[in-house]
């Protein structure tokens, strides 16, 4: 279990200071796969490095299995090499002057918990077999493919049987196809080890497919935490709605109190919409988020369905669907349609959307 409380870290460079992590708190339960997701520069890596001990936070406390490893008010500091944490780096950090075997054996031979010669051999072989690199043990490390290097980095992190595993964008160095394969394999491996994991990424697909819990970060803060389905279906604010999957964001004003089933009416530039408000109380100026795949050409017939009438401005065939732009009043909507049912460009279209897919939320993060 990892507990992080009120973590803050400021970088001081020659001319300026930068608050990279701003009062972040979260808890990762035993065996959970926890993901930090957010755009570039939002402080994910910095948070992860604080847990690892590679950065020293200014404020806050971090506990692993209940024992503090870093605490600003108790003045506790356990150096990174004594925290027994496995870590996979973005660059993989495979030592080029060693063989595959030597890379994995390194933590056992020189680490805090030294292991005797015979056991080293067994444990390294076991770790390599786990990631299916057993047959490459004697190969020089630079002669591995990208995917193999990534698995080697995993084996090296696993071999110490750490309490905690930290992964910093481990898939970002792979090409698209391999990334998809490794995604499935990674979750399988981590789950079979039962190790508590923090994973850092800026790819929403990775976060959604791999995680038990996702924390979305922005400007050094966690803006929403929840399981993948929650995050996708009930984004707490416009930033999350837009960052996780694409959304059409339309400004509007709430004009009614919520009805019995939680529906409010919102006035937008071109008319009024029936919206649901998943993140609770909403009033006044808000944002409405509408996902492109929820806009349909045919009515479903449900009671509070909205109809948007506009002109099809552009359509681009991308395989399993067409990405379209529909102009409603002065607002352009991104819409995803089935290729067979896409009207000709320039024609008038009616788009239908259920009220539960029109999400009203606070505009600010």
């Amino acid at each position: 279990m990892i507990e992080v409380e009120h973590l803050s870290l400021t970088y001081h460079s020659a001319k300026q200071t930068h608050l990279a992590v701003d009062d972040v708190s979260f808890t990762v339960k035993q065996g959970q796969f926890y993901t930090l997701l957010g755009p570039s520069g939002c402080g994910k890596t910095t948070t992860l490095r604080c847990v690892a001990g590679l950065e020293r936070p200014d404020l806050g406390e971090i506990r692993i299995d209940g024992a503090p490893v870093s605490s600003s008010n108790k003045d506790v500091w356990i150096p990174p090499n004594r925290r027994s944490i496995g870590m996979v780096f973005q660059s993989y950090a495979i030592w080029p002057h060693m063989t595959v075997f030597e890379n994995v054996a390194f933590p056992l031979r020189y680490g805090v918990k030294k292991v005797s010669g015979r056991d080293v051999r067994d444990r390294v072989q076991k770790a390599l077999d786990l990631v299916q690199l057993g047959h490459l043990a004697d190969r020089a490390a630079p002669h591995l493919s990208g995917g193999q290097q990534q698995r080697l980095a995993l084996a090296r992190a696993f071999v110490m049987e750490p309490k905690v595993l930290l992964l910093d964008e481990p898939l970002s160095n792979l090409d698209a196809k391999l990334r998809e394969e490794m995604r499935i394999e990674l979750r399988h491996l981590v789950k079979s080890m039962g190790v508590t994991t923090i994973f850092v990424t800026h790819e929403q697909i990775e976060a959604l497919t791999l995680s038990d819990v996702i924390a979305v970060m922005k400007n050094g803060k966690i803006v929403q935490e929840g399981n993948p389905l929650d995050i996708y279906q009930r984004p707490a604010n416009a930033f999350v709605a837009d960052f996780i999957g694409k959304s059409n964001l339309v400004p509007g004003t709430v004009t009614t109190n919520p009805s019995a089933n939680g529906i409010v009416r919102v006035d937008c530039a071109w008319g009024s919409l029936a919206c649901s408000a998943p993140s609770g109380s909403t009033s006044g100026a808000i944002m409405v988020a509408i996902r492109p795949e929820h806009l349909e050409l045919t009515p479903s017939g449900s009671a509070d369905e909205n109809v948007l009438v506009g002109t099809l401005e552009a359509a681009a065939f991308v395989g399993n669907m067409t990405d379209c732009i529909v102009k409603v009043g002065q607002t352009s909507f991104k819409v995803q349609l089935h290729p067979d049912r896409t009207p000709v460009v320039g024609s008038q279209v009616s788009l239908y959307i259920a009220a539960r897919h029109c999400l009203a939320m606070r505009a600010d993060a």
Binding site: F89, A93, H97
Partner: protein
């Protein structure tokens, strides 16, 4: 936001980190103390052994008021300007030939430059003195006989002559630095000028030279700085003919026969020289930063346009051959000639009859063997120790989180701004008046080791810094996360990755240490002779023949080292020193 004192406290370091930091701190203190002590001496009116004294700019007034010292300074400037011009004259065309033409046999140029390392500056100076000395110089005597001249046509014992010899030995540096500038220029810029119809000379004049100019200017300043600080050429050629540059003048003042050495004036002059040299280095680094603006930034390999030389290949090789003959071959032949004669005379039938190996037999072998042993010890210890310290410096500056770590980098660079003779002098004074009380190493090879190490630290840290920056930080962090401390990271990760750089730098420093004369000359006594000092002593006691014989011994013992160096550089390519 509220800040705790937590982040301000020193990062906790493990044992090895503390050891490295302690080494860096101690060495830094030594480096800073030397010039500071000199500054103190220069401001102190009385002689250092007197207990108390007033402080003033008296000695500086002395320096600037002495017409002879001012003459020495203008001499030095003229000397280094001429040396720079000669160095660029040979170095720049060579760089252009190697980088931008289809010259056949380019690897041979590298080999020639490497063989050139065998000839230390003082050896070339001896050779040229034998050739162009106004009284005994071979060429002068021939010309006088041939054209029935009453006076020698050349006089090497002049600022002009010394600059010429110095320039010849600076040419390889000019070549390496200019080649680096040309290599970094994007050839597309030249090609597009060509495509717009400009001819060869217009492309040169309007595109290549203006683009390469900041880089070449920077190289020029660097070379000028080295010429400015040079000691061996002015010492061999100028000393006996009473033509001084500041470095020989400083030594003259120290070894003054009458009265006590003028430590105050010597220190004041040294401070002036450090100031000039520091300004030059500062200017150089400014230009260097500026020059990088034009560099090719793409990582893509490109094939620069090469000029077809055609028939002019002979001209090109003639030029290179002339350089090799003038700078290496002729001086070497003359030295061999001198070593075979009982006394120096120009080649004639009578002279040939007196040829023998007697000079080699008459060498003071006891001193020579001491010199060889001491030089051998220093040659092994200096690069080893310097690199060990340099790795500590690089680690502290680039990898630790110690506050103010960048300051240590500045300190490591400081010796670079101090001419070697001044550095030796500062070390000697510091030794004599301060250190001797705590560690009596005056007159031992340990004081030489100390000074050699500190003086080479700038070069060594530049090399280790550059390589350290190429090592991805995550390689070390991965080791930390594997549960190991700083010691294991240094031994098992950093040192193996630094390996090739360390070997290269080790060899280069071993070579420099082997032929080092300047730093040793101030600090040498009978008990810490090095081989170059043995040569120096022979030369100054008037034994030209035995000095020549000793030089040959010195050079032949360098052969394996240079061969190793050549083999290494041929594999990895030349790097900018």
């Amino acid at each position: 936001m509220q800040r705790s004192t937590f982040s301000l406290s020193l990062p906790k370091m493990d044992r090895w980190a503390c050891v490295m930091f302690a080494i860096v701190a101690c060495v830094s203190v030594v480096i800073i103390m030397m010039p500071l002590f000199m500054l103190w001496l220069s401001l102190r009116e009385a002689h250092p052994i007197e207990p108390d004294s007033a402080y003033s700019f008296l000695h500086f007034a002395e320096v600037f008021g002495d017409p002879f010292i001012l003459k020495v300074l203008t001499n030095t400037l003229q000397f280094s300007l001429i040396a720079l011009a000669v160095g660029l004259f040979f170095g720049v065309p060579t760089a252009w030939l190697v980088e931008r033409t289809d010259l056949p046999g380019k690897p041979a140029v590298l080999t020639i430059m490497t063989i050139g390392l065998l000839m230390p500056g003082f050896a070339a100076a001896m050779g040229w003195l034998f050739m162009l000395h106004p009284r005994i110089g071979i060429v002068n005597r021939w010309a006088m006989d041939l054209f029935a001249l009453s006076e020698a046509p050349f006089n090497i014992a002049s600022i002009m002559g010394m600059g010429w010899v110095m320039g010849l030995s600076l040419a390889p540096l000019a070549f390496i630095m200019t080649a680096a500038v040309l290599r970094a220029l994007d050839p597309a810029l030249e090609e597009s000028a060509q495509m717009s119809g400009a001819g060869f000379f217009n492309v040169m004049r309007k595109v290549t030279l203006p683009l390469a100019w900041p880089g070449i200017l920077a190289a020029g300043i660097y070379i000028f700085t080295i010429g400015f600080a040079a000691f061996d050429v002015p010492a061999i050629i100028g000393w006996s003919n009473k033509i001084y540059t500041f470095s020989t003048y400083l030594l003259l003042q120290l070894s003054a026969a009458e009265g006590l050495p003028r430590y105050g004036a010597v220190s004041a002059l040294s401070m002036v020289v450090i100031f000039i040299s520091g300004m030059l280095i500062w200017w150089y680094s400014r230009l260097q930063a500026h020059a990088h603006r034009y560099q090719v930034v793409t990582g893509k390999g490109y094939r620069p346009r090469t000029v077809a030389l055609g028939r002019k290949v002979w001209l090109a090789w003639g030029f290179l051959g002339a350089y090799f003959t003038l700078s290496k071959l002729l001086p070497l032949l003359v030295i061999i000639w001198a070593s075979l004669l009982p006394y120096f005379r120009y080649p004639s039938a009578a002279a040939f009859k007196t040829i023998s190996l007697r000079q080699f037999q008459n060498i003071q072998w006891d001193m020579t063997i001491d010199g060889i042993i001491n030089t051998g010890i220093l040659m092994v210890l200096t690069p080893t120790l310097t690199l060990a310290i340099a790795v500590c410096f690089s680690w502290v500056v680039l990898r630790s989180k110690i506050p103010g770590r960048v300051g240590f980098d500045f300190v490591a660079f400081l010796p670079h701004a101090i001419p070697n003779i001044v550095f030796g002098l500062a070390a000697m004074l510091f030794m004599l008046f301060v250190l001797q009380r705590f560690v009596p190493i005056h007159g031992t090879i340990w004081i030489l080791l100390l000074v050699f190490v500190v003086a080479r630290l700038s070069y060594a840290t530049r090399m280790t810094n550059a390589t350290f920056m190429q090592i991805h930080k995550e390689l070390e962090e991965a080791a930390t996360m594997s549960g190991v401390g700083t010691g294991v990271i240094i031994w098992k990760v950093i040192l193996p990755l630094l390996g090739p750089t360390l070997i290269y730098a080790w060899l280069w420093m071993a070579l420099l240490t082997y032929r080092e004369l300047t730093l040793a000359v101030v600090l040498s006594t009978r008990d810490n002779l090095t081989l170059p000092i043995v040569v120096w002593n022979a030369w100054f006691s008037g034994g030209f023949g035995s000095a020549a014989a000793l030089t040959l011994i010195l050079m032949s013992m360098m052969v394996p080292l240079v061969a190793l160096y050549w083999w290494l550089v041929r594999r990895t390519g030349l790097r900018q020193a």
